[in-house]
């Protein structure tokens, strides 16, 4: 079978585009604003990396491609076209591959809606470049909440973008939403959910806001303190926040979405195959600033320093050496087991008992019997004989539980 032959083992590709118009108040991703020439140089360097690293992956079928950022939809048509061209030229992308790109409403030209700069991408352009799945960052249908988050678009602009995307023929669209926002109520969250569901996207990612160090939100809300000032509404309390999460779970399920991972929902068959690769530990090759890879039992990551990245001279192996390669480690068997558990348990279908045994040659109970039993007893984990998975209550405190799956 193809999976057993290392040389033919499937591969996923991730490409990072680290540029944005401006940073949102909560964002701690690797992204920043930069002018056109910087972006152009970066694309050229990324294409070099794509070519350079392909040597190690000849013959491996590429099942998914994901262009993430930053705001990939800030690329020009020419840049996107050359980028995807390089991927097709150097890798064997399957015909049915899932090829996703992230978009920010308000950056993509919506034909007929308002005048655009000539260089701006349109949805038709995106389709022409081979993209067959869109991920649109909405976050909220409440304009007040959008302003608080520092988003560059309005809910109206989102609706226009969504229409335009459908109009351009996209049949696989994901919408990103956020709950637990300052000043948000169960009511406004419900409103966002209802209005998005009415559009019937194939996939919805609903994230609880995380206050990350180094972001403007951290200054206001860090250390769990609520600001509660006039210009700075308070975060919802813990019970309300969990309420929002479980409300989304139930509402989306009632509207035909399968809850398949902690924050991810989709119509049946429309799960994001690229992200499943992360949680089920398939191989993925990440290229671009700060991009992470897991290939042939090794984790690695590109540097997050733009200067270093830009200075790297294209040569086979160049992108895997320090200082360019920020991290490189071969995973031990124990580490692989741990990852299998703390990633696999993020998915509602959890970890297969027979799968674990096949991969590691050891029963999951001999490694984790005590932990599993403890949490089954307290209702946090479900064991149906075939799969180990988290219960709904277990999801809420999953970090606490998952730390017990680290050995030693």
């Amino acid at each position: 079978m193809a999976e057993n032959d290392i040389r033919k083992k499937p591969l996923s590709i991730y490409l990072h585009f680290p540029f944005c118009v401006k940073k949102c108040s909560y964002c701690d991703f690797l992204s920043f604003s930069a002018d056109g020439s910087v972006r152009e140089d970066y694309i050229a360097k990324l294409i070099e990396e794509i070519a350079c690293r392909s040597g190690g992956f000849r013959g491996r079928p590429v099942r998914t491609v994901f262009i993430g950022g930053g705001t990939p939809s800030l690329m020009s048509k020419d840049q996107l076209s050359r980028l995807m061209g390089a991927v097709y030229r150097y890798y064997e992308v399957e015909d049915q591959a899932e090829i996703s790109m992230e978009c920010n409403p308000g950056t993509v030209c919506c034909a007929g809606m308002r005048p655009c700069e000539p260089a701006r991408l349109s949805f038709a352009d995106i389709r022409d470049c081979g993209i067959n799945r869109l991920s649109i960052g909405l976050q909220s249908m409440d304009d007040g909440e959008l302003r608080l988050l520092g988003r560059i678009h309005s809910s109206q602009q989102f609706l226009e973008s969504y229409d335009a995307a459908r109009g351009a023929g996209f049949t696989n669209i994901n919408v990103d939403l956020m709950s637990g926002l300052p000043g948000q109520s169960l009511g406004s969250w419900m409103n966002t959910l209802e209005r998005v569901c009415a559009l019937s996207p194939e996939h919805i990612s609903a994230y609880s806001l995380i206050i990350e160090e180094g972001t403007p939100f951290y200054k206001l809300y860090g250390c769990g303190e609520e600001a509660g000032r006039a210009d700075c509404p308070a975060l919802p309390d813990e019970d309300t926040e969990r309420g929002m999460y479980h409300l989304a779970r139930h509402f989306l399920r009632d509207n035909g979405y399968t809850h398949y991972e902690i924050s991810n929902f989709s119509k049946p068959g429309c799960e994001c195959r690229h992200n499943l690769t992360y949680w089920y530990r398939g191989d993925y090759l990440g290229m671009g600033l700060g991009a992470a890879s897991l290939t042939d039992g090794c984790r690695s990551a590109d540097t997050a320093d733009l200067d270093i990245y830009m200075k790297t001279k294209a040569a086979p192996g160049a992108f895997l050496e320090k200082p360019l390669c920020a991290e490189l480690s071969r995973l031990s068997r124990q580490e692989q087991m741990e990852e299998t558990m703390f990633l696999g348990l993020r998915c509602r279908s959890g970890v297969g008992i027979r799968h674990f045994e096949r991969v590691f040659g050891e029963s999951i109970y001999s490694v984790y019997g005590a932990v599993i039993e403890n949490y089954v007893r307290t209702g946090m984990i479900r064991d149906d004989g075939k799969r180990i998975s988290l219960t709904a209550g277990g999801i809420d405190v999953s970090n606490w539980i998952l730390s017990d799956f680290l050995i030693g």
Partner: protein, 602 residues
């Protein structure tokens, strides 16, 4: 050998900060014992800790050669003494080695509570008191009034006391001359068998134990065989000598009336005790010197190593400290919460702080200390009396007839404007008013009796802050008194945490229980289930708080680039769990114990 008539053995006693150590510095400097360049400020305080805090902990001695006005050469043996009330025993042994005491009084502050305590002790040892009036350079100095105070309160002549400024080196010569005229030379029979009083000892990694002594009769030579009279242990003397400032100077022999040291390959830590008598093993003296006693600790606490594996290191460190500190007491103790450790006894709170600080600093130990407690007397219904310092050892309440707690008599010197607030403080601490004496229009001496457990922690601090630093305070154990005491227990998740048990005065129990529950609630991290925290007396719950169950601990996003960071976070979480002490099913961080046991600021 030096003519015995030209020896003077003396110490300097004073209230804290009146200038005892500075005067010692000047005397050393003036007599050329150390050049100015070699002088370090307060050179006799050669332990780092002492220098940092500006106090003297250990006795140290120095031999000074002085060329007097009469043309003759004299040997002064200056013995430095601890000034703090906690170290009375060490002070008393140092006094026993002297013929006289220079009493330093601050001309601005006058006679204070501890001045009196130390003077009485010196008088009890039949020392000649030589008063010296210091800090005459200060604008608020009033030497004449100070002379009057000394004569009225202490009852010794002070009209010809040298008026000096130790800091500025003024009039030190007068002090040196008066040492010769006022302090008697040592008596003692050079022909009699060796009889020497150990007033201090030191452990040296190369030489073993070094004993510091004063020879009362006879002499001590290199190579002779000596015997410690309290234990009977015998040793061959490897080295004898005397003290320069900060260093030991070996010689062949020391005679009657001299102060010096010896090393004799004494390896074990139990064999040289302060207060013991050294004699000639081949021709011993009849009787040991009087006054050797085992001191009784006043304050106890539990000391546990953070890392259980370091228990032997802690034991070794305590043994080494005990060598130089005869009044340190310790015995093994176990706690379900904290593991294996020791119950330690100290002369007082400063002693406790210094020992724990030395353990942490000199021996690099990380420690958990439980709150200080005193020794209670428990009278059982079956007639047996128990002395309890560890709450875990208290018998069941049904077996207790009544209890007693130690009481001290305290003397507090205070300026009149603060009399009211200080009396309030004493009342708050269950003090019983005894008397008030007005020393002069602006100062009074308050006498109170107080329970020891009310003053062992922050009474001194409260006293100082309420009197803007002017009050001073001295106390001694008066005896035991019947009292309504109860054992307060803390239960976490319905299981008792023995390390947090307290014996408290019954009427304070509710308050204390409530405060401990509140504090603990803030310290215990949320668990997957609700955790009740309760304070109980016997089976009766008197206070309760609840730690809510953990509701949210989840990572919403975890994609390719997040995985390494996620793993690190989970590892940190796992490490954090390991560090917590498991009390039944609840994980309590060690810091929680420390923060709860640290008594609150009032």
């Amino acid at each position: 050998m030096t003519d015995q008539s030209r020896i003077r053995n003396f110490c300097i006693i004073a209230h804290i900060d009146h200038g005892k150590s500075t005067l010692a510095d000047r005397i050393i400097e003036k007599t050329g014992t150390l050049t100015s360049r070699e002088m370090q400020e307060q050179v006799l305080d050669n332990m780092d800790l002492e220098r940092e805090r500006g106090i003297t902990i250990k006795s140290q001695a120095v031999r000074i050669v002085y060329h007097a006005d009469d043309g003759k050469e004299y040997i002064f043996n200056l013995i430095d003494t601890p000034g703090h009330v906690d170290f009375n025993y060490e002070v008393s042994r140092a006094l026993a080695a002297c013929e006289g005491a220079i009493l330093v009084v601050d001309a601005a502050q006058g006679v204070e509570a501890q001045t009196l305590a130390n003077v009485y002790m010196a008088i009890d040892h039949n020392l000649e008191i030589m008063p010296v009036i210091n800090k005459i350079d200060l604008p608020s100095a009033d030497p004449d009034r100070t002379v009057e105070e000394i004569e009225d309160i202490i009852g010794i002549e002070a009209h010809d006391a040298p008026r000096i400024s130790a800091k500025n080196g003024i009039n030190i010569e007068e002090v040196l001359e008066q040492i010769i005229t006022k302090i008697p030379a040592p008596e003692g029979d050079p022909q009699a068998p060796l009889k020497a009083l150990i007033f201090d000892s030191l452990y040296d990694p190369y030489k073993g134990v070094i004993a510091f002594f004063r020879i009362m009769d006879g002499s001590i030579r290199n190579g002779m065989k000596v015997r410690m009279m309290s234990t009977g242990a015998e040793f061959d003397v490897v080295e004898v000598g005397y003290f320069g400032a900060g260093r030991l100077i070996p010689c062949d022999e020391l005679g009657t009336g001299m102060v010096g040291y010896m090393s004799a390959s004494i390896k074990t830590l139990q064999e040289t005790r302060v207060g013991d008598t050294i004699t000639d093993a081949l021709g011993p003296c009849d009787e040991a010197l009087p006054g050797y006693k085992k001191v009784n600790p006043m304050v106890y606490c539990g000391i546990f190593p953070e890392d259980g594996a370091k228990y032997p290191d802690l034991r070794d460190a305590l043994e080494k400290l005990q060598l130089n500190d005869a009044s340190l007491f310790f015995e093994p103790e176990t706690s379900a919460a904290l593991g294996f450790g020791f119950r330690c006894g100290f002369l007082g709170l400063l002693h406790l702080e210094i020992v724990t600080e030395r353990l942490e600093r000199e021996y690099a130990l990380e420690l958990i200390t439980t709150a200080p407690s005193v020794v209670y007397r428990v009278y059982k219904t079956n007639g047996v009396m128990l002395e309890i310092s560890n709450p875990s050892n208290m018998p069941d309440p049904s077996e207790i007839e009544y209890m007693e707690e130690p009481i001290v008599s305290a003397e507090i010197m205070v300026t009149t404007e603060f009399i009211g607030t200080i009396m309030d403080l004493c009342q708050e601490r269950r003090g019983v008013y005894i008397s008030i004496d007005y020393i002069e229009a602006t100062r009074a001496l308050l006498k109170y009796e107080l329970p020891l457990n009310e003053i062992i922690y922050d009474f001194f601090d409260a006293l100082k802050s309420r009197s803007r630093g002017y009050a001073s305070f001295d106390y001694e154990l008066k005896g035991y008194q019947r009292s309504k005491l109860v054992k307060l227990d803390i239960l976490v998740n319905r299981e008792m945490v023995d390390a947090l048990s307290f014996i408290v005065f019954a009427d304070s129990a509710y308050d204390k229980g409530r405060r401990m529950c509140e504090k603990l609630k803030d310290e215990i991290p949320r668990q997957l289930f609700e955790v009740p925290i309760q304070a109980a007396i016997g089976s009766k719950i008197i206070a309760r708080e609840t730690v809510k169950a953990l509701r949210k601990d989840v990572l919403a996003k975890c994609y390719g680039g997040d995985i390494s960071r996620k793993k690190k976070l989970l590892e940190k979480q796992k490490e954090g769990k390991k560090k917590m002490r498991q009390i039944g099913s609840v994980e309590i961080p060690k810091q929680a114990f420390l923060n709860v046991l640290k008594l609150d600021d009032e």
